[in-house]
Amino acid sequence: MEDILQKSLGCNGYQDIRFEDLITTSIHFMGKHLDNISINRQRGGHARALLGGGWGTFSFSRDQDTPKALENALQATRLIPGTLELAPAPVIQDTIHVQTDSDPRPINVKEKKRLLEHYNNLALSHKDIHTTRAVYKEIFRKKHFCNNEGTEIYQEQLLVSIQMALVARRGNIIQRVGLSLGGSPHFSSLLGQEALLEEKIKEVRDLVQAEPAQAGHYTVILDPECTSVFVHEAFGHLSESDNLSNNRNLQKVMQLGREFGPAILNIVDDPTIPDVPGHFKYDDEGVEGTRNELIREGKLVGRLHSRETAAQLGEKITGNSRATDYTFPPVVRMTTTFIEGGPHTFEEMLAGIDEGLYLKEASGGQTSGEFFTFDTQLGYQIINGKLGPMIRDASLSGNLFTTLQNIQMIGDDMVISKSGGCGKANQLLYEVGMGSPHLKIQDMAIGGK
């Protein structure tokens, strides 16, 4: 198959082909019931061609479509002439195998199910846990990439994780707290996490007794998980250059050197950190992923690129062109995006807040570029510099530019999250990660009751 693809590469303009073989194992529990086990295999390819104008691409899974895949892509790009160019990229020939000392693939499904069931039963054995949702997911990708410049890459990626949601209920109040394990290629990273689970069980038990957050504007402290979602939604997406490559006005807004936040703020995107969801070697156009500083001492110093956007903005390639699988063209996306640890302790952050909120447990967010929003499920009031009663259902929203300026303190406790995932451009990609320390922001809009 790969040979057929490679042979069909021609010398007209730019042409590339990805061929992917993906095996996904999922096990789902809902409450005490096993909801499903599925083992899915997808094989298919994606051909791209560029003859100066717009991209012509063709996704396919049927074998008979393979030989004419590039022809289809070429026919499409011919219809949309123009002057698009790609930034030059080194020609690479490389083979990357999964590195793991605890490979989940040879372990049989029965044992994986037993592990998930163990955690699930542990949660359900607490009488206050109303129900659960528990998901084991193992994604193994074999990806071939070649282009007509001579690059040929074979790359494997493996990600194994357990995600749990613990639900408690008091009358009509139903609350949920999440737990993520793994996020690496090692099965061993899923083992021995009972203490963490017990901690989460206690949180959700308390949460149904908590009052909802009152809407208003507060000084808030976000825990590392919330800060991670914040940096992903509020800043990360805007650093993806496909938003601004064709947009002179936004380019002015996003000028390098512009001050985005206080001098203690440093934001980095780094796919080279191993054993976290956002780790990989080469992106889906054969460019090596690199550590990129996005904000240094409060100033915008970099952004994420594909070869196309790097050429349009006259900047260096970064290796961020990524697709969920062969059914999609690659788009510019984050890898592991995080705020670097700062100088402040949690106690220093609490001090001086007369009335504020400490928010934990992010539950998803979204951005429109300029505005972002995300929900938290659990938090605490801060009263006169001390943590007060627990609160629930606070959601944050704001304008990216003003919110980054409102950052007051950055914690010294950076952690990279075990869970990842992002649904940009309708492409749900699990291998997008995030991290951060605690963060203190003033004048944050909180929606609640």
């Binding site: 083992i39 997808q42 063709f58 049927r62 429109s368």
Partner: protein
């Protein structure tokens, strides 16, 4: 297909195979240039087996990948216990969802459609930067099982999204059109897009208080989504739905009606059978505020001691759901329109908000009906007129509280949305919603 079914029958008690072929042509235009044509021609195959009352599931992309049967079989012994059989064939209602002309559409035609759209906008204002995407899609679905069922249908769809961009380059106003057949975007829709774009050039903070809110169908889908999650068998059977004992009870304003119309000609989610081969059924979900139906597939229906309601679909919120077993989902939803136009509703409002797009629809305590939505495209209304775009604004509440008072609906129908379209409805006026803004009063 037969080879997989035969192999499944030989190795297990029952087998079911579901094949979806998808042909798609998206053409994307972004501010003076065509960005891309991303053609797609893919196949997805999923297989379910029942052996000794245990269910196995696996999927593949190739009919000659007979190992898919072994993968499903491998997990069946410790798979879930099921009490249902794959269904025998029942006659399904003829559903008109295939448009010959649309099935022949080419990328050249779609490029023409985009040029026409650019001209239509330019007739009002040629200076507004635009992003436009047209997508044509043709899907062939086949479902067969070892109990004699074989269902097959083809459907077509066309969608058009037009975005105007703000001076800063962010999305300012949106026009989205989609149907199961070829269409021309009506001039009224373009006119409306331009009007909203112009209104958005004035940006206003709004006060923090409870006020009446008009949700366009695009935004109202986020509220309906919370109801749909609560009436799905999956969530009823696990006790996370607050509606488990509310069937036949009045849960909303008596002015609220919501139906499911799976046989509407060329409806986006119209189909004769669900993904388990069971005929779809038109049904009332909310009638005069009373909860009338729950949504079940084979599995959750059987668990609840009921029949499947023909709502077993492989669908997920983001992306495609082919690779997981079916769960209950609604087909075409329909909320009947009112008699007055959206403009009349606006004109009669002393102070309020028109909300057209929201962010964060998938987050928060969905089951409990809570919503806390950041307003993307929203407009502040004072003394019967739109004053400008509402910035830094959130709307929040609980659907079981705020939907107790719905004084009116507009006469215009649009698409209900939850990331993807989910059906049809009018603009909905809700009496009192908690709005958080940044205006100092």
């Amino acid at each position: 297909m037969k080879n997989l079914l035969d192999r499944g029958k030989k190795l297990a008690d029952q087998a079911e195979i579901h094949v979806v072929d998808c042909k798609e042509i998206p053409v994307t235009y972004d501010q003076n240039t065509f960005k891309s044509i991303n053609k797609k021609n893919t196949r997805d195959i999923s297989l379910r087996l029942i052996k000794d009352s245990c269910l196995g599931f696996a999927s593949t992309t190739h009919l000659n990948d007979t190992e898919v049967v072994d993968r499903a079989l491998e997990q069946a012994p410790f798979g879930e216990d099921v009490a249902f059989d794959f269904p025998a064939e029942h006659p399904a209602e003829d559903t008109v969802i295939f448009d010959q002309r649309l099935s022949r559409i080419t990328e050249e035609d779609l490029i023409e459609h985009i040029y026409d759209t650019i001209d239509a906008v330019a007739a009002y204002d040629a200076s507004i930067p635009l992003r436009i995407q047209f997508i044509s899609r043709e899907i062939t679905v086949q479902i067969a099982n070892t109990n004699g069922l074989h269902q097959e249908y083809k459907k077509t769809a066309l969608s058009a999204s037009i975005y105007t961009l703000s001076p800063q380059g962010f999305i300012e106003s949106i026009c989205y059109y989609a149907a199961g057949r070829l269409f021309r975007i009506p001039d009224g829709a373009i006119k409306n897009l331009i009007q909203r774009h112009q209104q958005a050039q004035t940006r206003l903070p709004v006060p923090t208080k409870k006020m009446p809110v008009i949700f366009t169908p695009r935004a109202f889908g986020a509220l309906i989504y919370r109801l749909l999650e609560a009436i799905k068998g999956t969530n009823l059977n696990t006790g996370v739905s607050p509606l488990e004992d509310q069937l036949g009870e009045t849960i909303f304003d008596t002015n609220l009606n919501l139906k499911e119309e799976p046989h509407k000609p060329y409806g986006l989610f119209s189909c004769p059978v669900d993904d388990e081969g069971i005929p779809t059924q038109g049904k009332e979900i909310i009638t005069a505020g009373i909860l009338k139906s729950f949504l079940y597939d084979l599995k959750t229906g059987t668990e609840a001691g009921k029949e499947s309601t023909g709502n077993g679909f492989k669908r997920s919120l983001i992306g495609e759901g082919f690779r997981e077993p079916p769960t209950p989902h609604a087909t075409n939803l329909f909320i009947p329109p009112g008699t007055r136009s959206l403009n009349q509703l606006i004109n009669q409002m002393e102070e309020g908000l028109l909300v057209d797009t929201v962010m964060g629809a998938h987050t928060g305590n969905i089951f409990a009906g809570e919503f806390s939505l950041n307003v993307g495209c929203g407009y502040y209304i004072k003394n019967g007129n739109i004053q400008g775009k509402a910035v830094d604004t959130m709307v929040s509440g609980n659907i079981y509280e705020v939907l107790q008072e719905i004084p009116d609906y507009s006469s215009e129908l649009g698409l209900l949305f939850m990331f993807e379209p989910m059906g049809y409805g009018p603009d909905v006026l809700v009496s009192s919603v908690s709005v958080t803004g940044k205006m100092n009063e």
